[in-house]
Amino acid sequence: MLGLEKKDFQLLLIVIGLTLFAPFLLNPFPEGSDLAQFNAGYPDLMQRFVIFGIFAIGFNILFGLTGYLSFGHAAFLGAGSYGAVWMFKLLSMNVLPAIAISVVIAGLFSLLIGYVSLRRSGIYFSILTLAFAQMSFALAYSVLTPITGGETGLQLALSDPRIFGAAQTATGNIPVPALFGLEMRSSFEWNVGAWLFTFNAGYYLAAFFMIIAFYISIRIFRSPFGMMLRAIKSNQTRMSYTGLNARPYTLAAFVISGMYAGLAGGLMASMDPLAGAERMQWTASGEVVLMTILGGAGTLIGPVLGAGMIKYFENIFSKINETILHGWFAFLPDGLEDVVVAMIYPFIGKGWHLTLGIMFMLVVIFLPGGLVQGGQKIGALFSRKKAEETKPNATEPAE
C-alpha cells in the first residue's frame, strides 16, 4: 500500500492511529484526580510532541543513515522559525505560506552549510556543524537584530504590513496564525464523564505534517537512495573505491534533514508566532541528538519515541516536587518516608536532566539501537519463550 511493504504500512497505520487518538491516549486519568498531573493531553505539549518528532525524524535521516553526527541542526530549525514569522509579518497570517517558506529557507541554509561541512567527516564534521550553528546563533543574537529581533526575539507587531491579510483584527489586536480562518489555537473540548479531551487545530495540523514526514522517511529508508546512505555509513572508503562520489548523497541527506528541521521550526512559529535566537543554540542541537539516540538512531519509529519521551519528561516529570513525593510515600513510616523521598528527589522534578543524562549514557553503553532495540530485545525474549513452548505442539502433527 502506498508503495510500502506490509510491515512498514502497519507501522505507518499505527503511527497515524496514535497521533489521531493522542488526545485520548495522553489523557488517561480523569480531571481532578491525583494522577491528572501525568496527563499530557493538553494542546501545547501535544504540539511539541509532534513538532520535535518531525525534527528528530529529520535528524535521523542524516545521523541514522549516514552516521554523520551533526551538532548544529538547531540552526535550521531557528532559520525556519524566523522565515515563518517573517511571512506572518509581511504576507498574511495563513500558516501554509509560512511553513512553505520555512522549509525552503532551511533547505537553502542547510545546502550552504552542508556543502562546506561535508568536506570533512567524523569529528571534524561535528565540529564544523557546531561552529556554523554557534556562528548563526551569535549573529542572530547580535548583528542581525533588524532581521532576527536579537535578544527579545522576532515578534509580530500591529504595524506589520501583512499585505494579503489584515494588519490587525477588528478589535485592534494582532491576528493569530490560522489555516484559512481556522485558528491554530482553537480547540474543541469534549467532556466525557470525569475526563476532558482537547482537540486542538494546531496539533492536528502538526500531526498531519508529521505523518507525511514519517511516510517520506519510510520511503527514504527503503529506497535505493537510503541503501546508498547506509553503504556510506558502513564503509565510505570502499564506496569511493568503487568509483562512487559519496558527497552528493550525503549532501542530499543533509539538506533533507535540514528541511525537516525547517518544517519543525515553521510549525513551531505557526503555533506560537515568535522566534528567538536561543532556538539555534548548540544545546538545542544537543537535545535532538539526545532524542534520536535515546529512541534509537537508524530505526524508523525511534526518534519519534525519543522526542515524545524527552518532552514528556521535560513538561510532566519536572513538575513533581517534594510535597507530591511525600504524598506518594505517605504510607511509609515517617523516618523511612523521608529517606525514600530524599533518595528519589534528586532524580525527578527539577533534577530530571540527571535522569535523562543517566538514561542516555545507559542507552549509549548498552543499547546502541536505543529504546527500540531494548523493546525488540525484550520482545525477542518473550517470543523465544513462546516459540519454545509452542514448538513441540507445532511439530507434533507433522510427525
Binding site: L69, R119, S121, I123, Y124, A131, G351, H353, M361
Partner: protein, 343 residues
C-alpha cells in the same frame, strides 16, 4: 599602540584557559584516542573545588557576642569560623582569604582521582567504539556531572574572590612608557597567565624529560610496539588521563575568581576548546597551546571598537570563522600529525 598591547593582554587570560583545557583534551586524544566531551565538566569541577574549599574554610559556629545586641535587644549571635579557634583571627582571615590558591593543592589529588575513576569506570570500554559513540557517552556524562553539581550548589553563579593581595590592577602603561591608566590589567589575570604557563611548562617537561613521559610519547607514536616491548601502556595512559583531568581542574580552580563558577561554565568552554583543539591539530600538544593563545588574542582583537565598526559582530564569530577556514584549508589543523583521525 597602547590599545594594541591592551588587547594582547586581554586575550592572554582567556587564551590561557583555552590552552589549558585544549591541552588536556588533546592529551587524552593523543594517548587514548578518545574524544572527551566531558572535559569541560572537569574544568567546571575544578572551579567548584575552589568553591567548596572556601565554603569549608568558612565553616562557622555561633558565638554570643555580649557587647552587641540585635534589634530585639537580645545578645547578638555571631558566626565565628572554626579557623579562628585554631589559628587566631588574623591567621584565620589570611587562610580564608587565600582559599583559591589553597584549593590548588586539594584539587590535584581530587581531579586525578576523578580522572582515574572516569577512565577506568567508563572510557576504558569505549576505546574500540566509533568516535561518535565516544562523543555521545561523554556528552551524557557531562550532563550527569553538571546536574549533580547543580543539585548541590544550585543554578546561580557563586562568587569566589581572589586573595586580597591580588585585587586591583597593574598599570602596564607606566612600565612601558605610556600614560598612566592607558594599559591596566587586573593582577589576578596576570597570575592566571603565569600559572597556566607554569602548568603547561610542567606538562611538557614531564613528557619530555622523564622516563615515564618518554614511554608515553612512544606509546602515542606506536602503541602496539610499546606494548610488545612488555610495557603496560594502558596503565600509563590511564595516569595521563588523570593528569589531563588535573590540568583541566587547575584551569578551573584558578578561573573561579575571574568568572563566578556556575554549573554550565564547562559546556561554554568545551565548545570553544574543541574548536581550539581542531585548529591546533588533533593530538598535537604544541598545536593546542599555540591555538589556544592565538584564538584568545584574536578574540580580544576582534572586540576592539575599531574592528567592530568595520565588521559588526565579528567578535562573536571570529573563533568559529577561523576554525572553519583552517579546517577547510588545512584539514590537519596548524600542527596536526599525519594519520591522526583520518578516515
Amino acid at each position: 599602540m597602547d590599545q594594541f598591547i591592551l588587547q594582547i593582554l586581554n586575550g592572554l587570560d582567556k587564551g590561557s584557559a583555552y590552552a589549558l583545557i585544549a591541552l588536556g583534551l588533546t592529551l587524552i586524544f593523543g594517548t587514548l584516542g578518545v574524544v572527551n566531551f566531558a572535559h569541560g565538566a572537569l574544568f567546571m569541577l575544578g572551579a567548584f573545588v575552589a568553591v567548596t574549599m572556601s565554603n569549608l574554610l568558612t565553616l562557622s559556629h555561633k558565638v554570643v557576642d555580649e557587647t552587641r545586641t540585635d534589634f530585639l535587644g537580645n545578645p547578638l549571635q555571631v558566626d565565628v569560623p572554626y579557623l579562628y579557634d585554631f589559628f587566631g583571627q588574623a591567621a584565620g582571615d589570611t587562610i580564608i582569604d587565600w582559599a583559591v590558591p589553597i584549593s590548588i593543592l586539594v584539587a590535584i589529588p581530587i581531579m586525578v582521582g576523578i580522572g582515574f575513576a572516569m577512565e577506568r569506570g567508563l572510557i576504558k570500554y569505549f576505546y574500540k567504539r566509533p568516535h561518535a559513540d565516544q562523543i555521545l557517552v561523554t556528552f551524557g556524562l557531562a550532563i550527569v556531572i553538571q546536574e549533580i553539581v547543580k543539585y548541590f550548589y544550585g543554578a546561580n553563579p557563586i562568587p569566589t574572590p581572589a586573595p586580597e593581595a591580588f585585587v586591583g590592577s597593574f598599570d602596564f602603561g607606566v612600565v612601558l612608557g605610556f600614560d598612566p591608566n592607558a594599559i591596566i590589567y587586573p593582577y589576578w589575570r596576570l597570575v592566571y597567565f603565569f600559572f597556566s604557563v607554569v602548568v603547561i611548562g610542567a606538562v611538557f617537561a614531564f613528557l619530555q624529560f622523564t622516563t615515564f613521559g618518554m614511554v608515553v610519547r612512544a606509546g602515542m607514536a606506536d602503541r602496539e610496539t610499546v606494548g610488545i616491548l612488555g610495557i603496560d601502556i594502558d596503565k600509563r595512559f590511564t595516569i595521563m588521563f588523570g593528569i589531563a583531568a588535573a590540568v583541566a581542574g587547575l584551569a578551573g580552580v584558578m578561573y573561579a575568581p575571574i568568572n563566578s563558577p556556575n554549573y554550565h561554565m564547562g559546556m561554554d568552554f568545551l565548545v570553544l576548546s574543541f574548536v581550539v583543539v581542531v585548529v591546533g591539530g588533533m593530538g598535537s600538544l604544541p598545536g593546542a597551546v599555540a591555538a589556544g593563545f592565538m584564538l584568545g588574542i584574536l578574540e580580544s582583537f576582534a572586540s576592539m571598537s575599531a574592528v567592530i565598526d568595520l565588521l559588526p559582530g565579528i567578535n562573536q564569530i571570529i573563533i568559529y570563522l577561523v576554525a572553519i577556514i583552517i579546517l577547510l584549508t588545512r584539514p590537519r589543523g596548524l600542527m596536526g600529525r599525519k594519520g591522526v583521525m583520518e578516515e
